[in-house]
Amino acid sequence: MDVVELARLQFATTTILHFVFVPISIGLSLLVAIMETMYVITKKELYKKMTKFWAHFLLINFAVGVVTGILQEFQFGMNWSDFSRFVGDVFGTPLAIEALLAFFLESTFIGLWVFGWDRLSKGVHLACMWLVSIGTMLSAFWILTANSFMQRPVGFALNNGRAEMVDFWALVTNEQVLWEFPHTLFAAFATGAFLIAGISAWKLLRKKDMAFFKPSFTLSIIVAFISSIAIALFGHGQAQFLVETQPMKMAASEGLWETSSDPAPWTIIAGIDPDKQENSFELKVPYLLSYLSYNQFSGSVIGIKELQARYEAEYGPGNYIPPVRTTFWSFRIMIACGSAMILLGLYGAYLAVRKKLEQSNKLFMRVMMFAIALPFIANTSGWIMTEVGRQPWTVFGLLQTKDSVSTTTSAGEVLFSFILFTVLYVILLGVLAFLFVREARKGPYATHEPEIALQDPYQFKEGV
C-alpha cells in the first residue's frame, strides 16, 4: 500500500472509532441534563439517582471522546499537510472556533459538574450540565461546518493556489451544514437514547430495580423516537440537496449507471458491477426516487456515466466515479437501521406512554438490547457514504485526495502510526464496553461506597 492508501485507512479507522464516542457524549449529556432538570424541578430523589447513574456512562465515555479528539485535530497536519496548506484559511477557522467556543466550555464545566456536587448550588450545578451539553452541540456544529466546506465549498476565493476565505457568513450558513448539522445532531441524541433504553430494557427483562429503569426507559425511548423521526426528515432534505450539489454521490448511492427514466424508480437492492458499469439485478419501487429527489412523482435523476462525461469536460481527464458498491450499500444500511429505529421508537414509546412496560413481551425488550447497536451502524454507514461518495475529491471540485496527502511522510511511518493507533483504539473500545457492562450490572443502588469516606475516613478500605 502506498502513503495515500495508508493515510486514508488510518483516517477512516480513527475517525469511525472517534465517532463511536462522540455521539454517546452528545446524546448522554443532553439526557443527563434533562434528568437533572427534572430533579431540580420536582426535587424527587429518583431523578437525582437517574442523573448520577447515567452520568457514569457519560463520564467514562467523555474522557475517551476528548483524547481521541486531539488526534483528529492533529492528523490533518500530520497526514494531510497539502490539504491543510490548501484549505487552512477556511477549514482551520471553524476548528479553532470549535476549540475556543466548545472544547473549553465542555471540559471546564464537566470538571465543575463532576467535582461540584457539594460545592455548587443546585441551580448552578444544573447549569453546568446544560453548558456541557450545549458545548458538545456547538462542537458538532463547527466541525460539521468544516466538513460541509469539503462537500460544498462556499465563501472562498482561489489565490496563490490556496482556498482563501472571503465570506465567513457564507461558510456558517452553507446550506450543506444547515442539513448536515441537525441530521447528525439528532443521530447523536438517538445514539445516547437507544443506549439508555437498551440498558434499561435489559434490566426490566431481569426485573431489577423496576422503579428506576421504567422511567429511564420511558424518557429515553421518547427522545429516541422523536430523534429518529427528525433524523429521517433532515436526512431527506440533505439527500435532495445532494441531488443538486453532488449528483455523482447521489447517483453512486443509487447505483444509477444510466440516467433514470422519468419518473425515476428507487432501487431497494441491486448487484453492483463496477467493472462492467452495470447492475446484474435490481429490485425497484416505481416513482420513489423522483419523490425522494424532488418531493414530486416526476423528474429523472442523472446517472454516473453521464456525470463522468460532464466532469471530464469540466475538470479534465480522470476517473470521477467513487466506489459505487460501498456508497450504494452504506446508504442502504443507514436507511435500514434508521427505519428500524423509528419503528422500535414508536412501539416503545407507545408501551411506555400506555404504561404497559411491565407486561410487554420479552421479545421486544430483547430486541431493544440489541438495538443499542443500530445508531452506531447507521452513524458509521452514513459517514462512509458521505466521505467515500465524495471521492476522488477531498474538497469537492477543488482538491483531490491524492493531492492532499503529506509528501514527507513515508509509508513505513504511516504504517507504524496506523498500527499503534488502531491497537490503542481497539483497546479503548474494549475497555469502554467492559466498563459499560460493569456499570450496568452494578446498577444504580450499588454506587454508594465512596461516600462512606465522608463519615469516617478509617472505614475506608484501601482500594475502594
Partner: protein, 337 residues
C-alpha cells in the same frame, strides 16, 4: 502591530499557557510515581488536578487549531515534519487522559497498576517530546524551498534537543510538586515541599546548561540578546525566591515562581523565534515566517473578532473553576477518581 503579529503572540500565549497549566498536571502525574506511599495518597494526588486537567489540555488543542487557521503552512510543516514525534505524543496523551478516568473504576491491583504506568508514561513523554520539538524549531530543521521538512533521526533527536526535553520534563515536575504542596494537607504537603526544595538546584543546573547550550547552537542571543539576558536574570531570581519560599512554607508563592520559570522558558523561546515559526537549517530564505506562512488578511480579521469576543469569557470561567476548587484536597473528602 499587524494582525499576523497578534496571532503569533496569541499562539505563543496559548502554548505557554498550556505548559503553565498542563505543566503542573504533567508534574502531578509524574509525582504519583515518586511521592505517594499508598493508593489513598495516589488518589489524592490525582484528585488535586481532577477538575482541571481536561480543560488545561484544551489550551494545546486551541493552540493547534489557531495555528491551522492563522498559519496553515506552519501547522502543515510542523505536524507532518515531526510525524513520529506527534504519533508518540498522541499515544501518551490518550493513555493519560483515559487513565485518570478508568483507574478508579475497577478494584483490582493489576488494573490500577496498569493505569498507574499509563499515567507515568503519559505525563512524562509529552513534555519530553515537546521539548525535543521546540529545541528543533529554534536550532533549525532541514526545511526545503517547498516548505517541506525532510528530517532524519539525528535532526530530531540529538544531545541538545534531548537536553531541552529533559529540562522541560524537570520544569513540569517541579511545577507539579509546588502545585501539590499548595493543594494538599499533612504528609503529602510536607513531602512535596521537601522534594521540590531538593529538586530545585537540579532544575537550576538543567536550565543553566540549556541557556548556555542555546547560546552556542542557535542565533537567539545574537538576535534578541538584551531581552533574553533580562529573562535569564529574572529566571535566576525566580529560582532563588522559589528556594526561599519553599523554606518559609509559602507554597502559593513558590508555585508562582515555578510557574514563572515556565513562562520565562517558553517566553524566551517565542521571543527568540519571532518573526519566524520554523528555522531552515538549509537556507535562511526557506524559513517559515509571519510573511510567507500566514492566512489571508480576511481570515485573520475574522479570527481576531472571534477570539477577542470569546477569550475573555473563557479565561473568566476557567478562573472561576479554580476559585470553586481552591480548597486543599484531603483524604477525608469524597474523592471522585
Amino acid at each position: 502591530m499587524s494582525l499576523s503579529d497578534l496571532w503569533f503572540l496569541l499562539i505563543a500565549v496559548l502554548f505557554t499557557g498550556f505548559f503553565f497549566l498542563e505543566g503542573f498536571d504533567f508534574g502531578v502525574g509524574m509525582a504519583t510515581g515518586l511521592l505517594s506511599r499508598n493508593d489513598m495518597q495516589k488518589r489524592v494526588l490525582i484528585n488535586t488536578i481532577g477538575p482541571f486537567w481536561d480543560a488545561n489540555e484544551v489550551w494545546l488543542i486551541t493552540a493547534a487549531g489557531a495555528m491551522f487557521a492563522a498559519f496553515p503552512h506552519w501547522y502543515a510543516t510542523m505536524f507532518s515534519g515531526y510525524y513520529v514525534l506527534f504519533t508518540l505524543i498522541l499515544i501518551a496523551l490518550i493513555f493519560r487522559g483515559v487513565a485518570f478516568e478508568f483507574r478508579g473504576k475497577v478494584d483490582h491491583s493489576w488494573w490500577r497498576k496498569t493505569w498507574d504506568v499509563a499515567i507515568l508514561f503519559g505525563s512524562s513523554v509529552p513534555p519530553l517530546l515537546f521539548g525535543v520539538m521546540f529545541a528543533g524549531l529554534i536550532k533549525g530543521m532541514p526545511i526545503g524551498e517547498d516548505m517541506e521538512m525532510r528530517s532524519g533521526f539525528t535532526d530530531v533527536v540529538n544531545g541538545y534537543s534531548l537536553w531541552a526535553g529533559i529540562t522541560i520534563v524537570g520544569l513540569c515536575l517541579l511545577h507539579g510538586l509546588t502545585f501539590i504542596s499548595l493543594r494538599t494537607m499533612g504528609e503529602l504537603r510536607e513531602r512535596s515541599r521537601h522534594m521540590a526544595a531538593k529538586f530545585l538546584p537540579v532544575q537550576a543546573v538543567l536550565l543553566a546548561v540549556l541557556v548556555v547550550w542555546t547560546y552556542f547552537v542557535t542565533d537567539l542571543f545574537e538576535r534578541r540578546g538584551g531581552l533574553l539576558l533580562v529573562f535569564v536574570m529574572i529566571g535566576v531570581l525566580a529560582v532563588l525566591l522559589a528556594g526561599l519560599f519553599l523554606k518559609w512554607r509559602r507554597e502559593g508563592w513558590a508555585f508562582c515562581m515555578t510557574g514563572l520559570l515556565i513562562l520565562l522558558t517558553f517566553g524566551s523561546f517565542f521571543v527568540g523565534l519571532f518573526p519566524r515559526f520554523m528555522i531552515s537549517s538549509i537556507n535562511t530564505a526557506f524559513d517559515l515566517t509571519l510573511y510567507n506562512a500566514a492566512s489571508s488578511a480576511y481570515t485573520l480579521k475574522a479570527m481576531t473578532i472571534v477570539a477577542a469576543t470569546l477569550l475573555p469569557l473563557v479565561l473568566a470561567y476557567q478562573a472561576w473553576s479554580y476559585f470553586v476548587f481552591h480548597k486543599r484536597v484531603s483524604e477525608k473528602e469524597h474523592l471522585e477518581y
